[in-house]
């Protein structure tokens, strides 16, 4: 038991020594999320550029606290979770958000196709919080949905529906989305609504 404690102590010490030089620190973000954090479907990392800073902050904090990315089935969420933990431990979460927010946002390529007309009907449920143009609502803390990685929106809807996101009792905002996700009756409904969001 003592040996294990010792090993753990060694790793904590290693973690605190930090890694890349200050200038290169946030290149970590670009590693997965691609040039200007415009997303990398190859590694299933969504576009971050253009995301609201308050939304980025909350999600990073959620990852760090295990509110998001904890379930075993959420492989990508786990990958992000360890990064969130590290950003918080090194007290640079705010700086990382600033770095992302300053990047040049590029319109994402559409990868999801569905029935736009059916999607429009489904989207009426979303309007109140996310806006008719998918522009988001800072007061309600609802992020914009337009100009995001469409495959990522679909993945998150699946995660909300499957209880992989928004199920943690501390995640009150996520719980609202989980409830909405539950009303999406099947995979078709998910791709339809995302296909409609692509038109916004």
């Amino acid at each position: 038991m003592r040996a294990r404690t010792k090993i753990a102590a060694v790793f904590v010490a290693a973690l605190l020594t930090g890694l890349a030089s200050a200038e290169n620190k946030y290149d970590y973000c670009l590693l997965c999320h691609g040039t200007n954090a415009n997303g990398n479907y190859g590694i299933r990392a969504p576009k971050l550029s253009g995301m609201e800073p308050w939304y980025l902050t909350r999600q990073l904090e959620n990852f760090a606290a295990g509110i998001r990315g904890a379930p075993e089935q959420d492989f990508s969420g786990h990958e992000m979770r360890v990064v969130g933990i590290r950003l918080q431990q090194e007290k640079v979460l705010g700086e990382a958000v600033k770095f992302i927010t300053a990047l040049e946002s590029k319109k994402p390529v559409h990868t999801v196709s569905g029935n736009v007309k059916a999607g429009k009907e489904i989207y009426q449920t979303c309007v109140a919080c996310h806006g008719a143009k998918g522009e988001g609502n800072a007061t309600l803390q609802s992020p914009a949905l337009a100009s995001r990685s469409d495959w990522y929106l679909a993945t998150q809807l699946r995660n909300f529906k499957a209880g992989l996101r928004g199920a943690d009792p501390r995640d009150t905002l996520g719980a609202q989305m989980a409830a909405i996700g539950g009303t999406l009756k099947d995979e078709q409904a998910i791709t339809d609504v995302v296909a409609y969001i692509n038109t916004l």
Partner: protein
């Protein structure tokens, strides 16, 4: 803990680590590849100045830099990491392990024998090009022990989880199978014409195969080991193990590992660590390599290629007549580019390798007291393997590979844990093989290749279908841009594959230059 693993899983897993040998063989059978190794390109000296940018200082990038620079090409290598070598990585005292989320520092004692090959760790005798570079670069080689019959086999499914020696599993199994065959096989069952002499020869083969007695019974064999090695007394064979217990184990899918094309003796390793190959190349081309330069944009032009990269937080643009690119496809897919859509789509199609390794520094070489000198113990637990170092024999300490899984799900299970938890789990599982395992552990390193910075994946996970659909498309140059690395070889996961990809690309560049030096698309 351990998911049921089908035979197919095992084969594809063995293919992944063994470098898709099966895929390679299939390609050979179709006559797509020559039976001998490809010829090393003889690059002609340049007639006009040409600039080549190489993206990534792994084995493929360094090979290309070495070959091209000495023929007059102006070469610059951009490497995203703080170190060169790519997945050829040897860890020693004080080395940084740049895992996103879980950075670590290697705490091994400072000692030339205390190192861990976190990436490639063995070289078969037919990897001719790599061996030729070792010779040329002055990399000293030593035998590597891959297969040790004194090592252990452990599976919770047999003998209540108690480990047995590999020689017992292999030879008792063979004995029982041979006995059943010899007793049940009838001459009339064989449709091929067979003389009595042939028939007797076949029965003799079975007897030899299993070491059966004159009545074709299997009563034990010295191949499975003696009960005692007290040579003042007559030899006593070990009692054969229970066949029904042996048959419960899925170890049968791994038992021939050390007989496969890339894993059979004679295997080698560089003395002092696999990265001696990297230092050998770097001694020749290190001055051309720029570290901590992360590529952000690749634009293929009518003439040449433009590349933008980040260095010290600034964007820098570079232009070249040719680009050789060994950035892992899963990362390349996220870099801004103007590749044709088919090529760009191909980049997103290859699943990431999730191979995982742990190396532990042991304060005592306890395994040598068990008669184990080098080689591998196998278990059906997530750690899958324990490797014993063949160097530093009889010294006080040693670094033991304490987990090496080819199973992507096991790799994910480990990666999810913190380094300390990974080690605790490896100790718990290793204790089923060596009961006092934990008490020898001083410190350790854990490598989740799919979480390593600038990699986020081990060997590209090609299968037959993916190869058919995408390999040629990714291998073919886009203008003057060439994708290289073991990821575009039929031997991913092996340095020889990385070298083959580099040779393939530079041979093409050489042909273009010989044909008049046009670099237009």
């Amino acid at each position: 803990m351990n998911r049921k693993f089908s035979r197919r899983d095992f084969l594809s897993a063995a293919g992944a680590v063994g470098g898709s040998t099966a895929v390679f063989r299939a390609a050979m059978a179709l006559g797509l590849m020559p039976a001998a190794a490809h010829a090393r390109p003889q690059i002609a000296a340049l007639r006009k100045p040409r600039k080549v940018l190489i993206l990534g200082a792994g084995i493929s990038g360094l090979t290309a830099a070495y070959e091209l620079s000495r023929k007059g090409y102006e070469v610059q290598v951009l490497e995203a990491s703080f170190r060169a070598g790519g997945r050829n990585m040897t860890l020693r005292h004080g080395d940084r392990i740049d895992e996103t989320g879980y950075p670590q520092v290697c705490q091994f004692d400072k000692d030339p024998d205390l190192f861990f090959n976190a990436g490639p760790a063995r070289i078969p005798g037919h990897h001719l090009h790599l061996l030729e570079y070792c010779k040329e670069l002055g990399v000293e080689l030593a035998p590597f022990i891959n297969d040790n019959r004194n090592a252990w086999v452990q599976d919770d499914a047999m003998f209540g989880g108690k480990p047995i020696r590999a020689r017992e599993y292999l030879n008792d199994t063979r004995g029982f199978v041979a006995e059943i065959m010899a007793k049940s096989l009838k001459k009339d069952d064989i449709t091929a014409p067979m003389t009595s002499a042939d028939w007797e020869q076949l029965r003799e083969y079975l007897r030899q195969f299993g070491e059966l007695d004159p009545q074709f019974r299997y009563l034990g064999t010295s191949r499975a080991g003696l009960a005692s090695h007290d040579y003042t007394k007559a030899d006593v064979l070990k009692q054969p193990l229970s066949p029904s217990e042996l048959m419960k184990s899925r170890f049968m899918f791994i038992m021939s590992f050390g007989e496969t094309d890339d894993q059979a003796a004679m295997m080698m390793e560089p003395v002092g660590g696999m990265d001696k190959i990297v230092s050998g190349f770097m001694a020749k081309v290190g001055h051309l390599v720029q570290l901590e330069s992360q590529v952000q944009k690749i634009l293929v032009k009518d003439r040449g290629v433009e590349v933008a990269y980040r260095r010290n937080g600034e964007y820098v643009t570079a232009k070249a007549d040719y680009v050789l690119n060994c950035i892992p496809v899963q990362l390349l897919a996220g870099i801004e580019n103007n590749f044709p859509s088919e090529f760009a789509t191909g980049l997103t199609k290859l699943p990431r390798g999730k191979l995982f390794k742990i190396g532990l520094q042991m304060k005592e070489r306890f395994w040598e007291k068990e008669g184990i000198y080098g080689g591998i113990s196998w278990t059906l637990q997530d750690i899958q393997q324990i490797w014993y170092p063949a160097h530093g024999i009889h010294r006080q300490k040693g670094v033991v590979l304490s987990a090496y899984t080819f199973n992507p799900e096991a790799g994910e299970r480990f990666a999810r844990l913190s380094p300390a938890e990974r080690i605790a789990l490896a100790v718990e599982q290793g204790s089923k093989i060596h009961p006092d395992y934990g008490k020898y552990v001083e410190n350790g390193v854990t490598i989740a290749w799919h979480q390593m910075n600038h990699m986020l994946g081990c060997a590209a996970q090609w299968d037959a279908e993916l190869s058919k659909q995408w390999f040629a498309k990714l291998q073919r140059p886009v203008g003057s841009h060439y994708l290289i690395g073991d990821q575009v070889s039929y031997h991913p996961g092996w340095q020889e594959g990385a070298i083959a990809s580099a040779h393939h690309a530079i041979a093409d560049i050489d042909a273009r230059e010989r044909a008049g030096g046009t670099v237009s698309a």
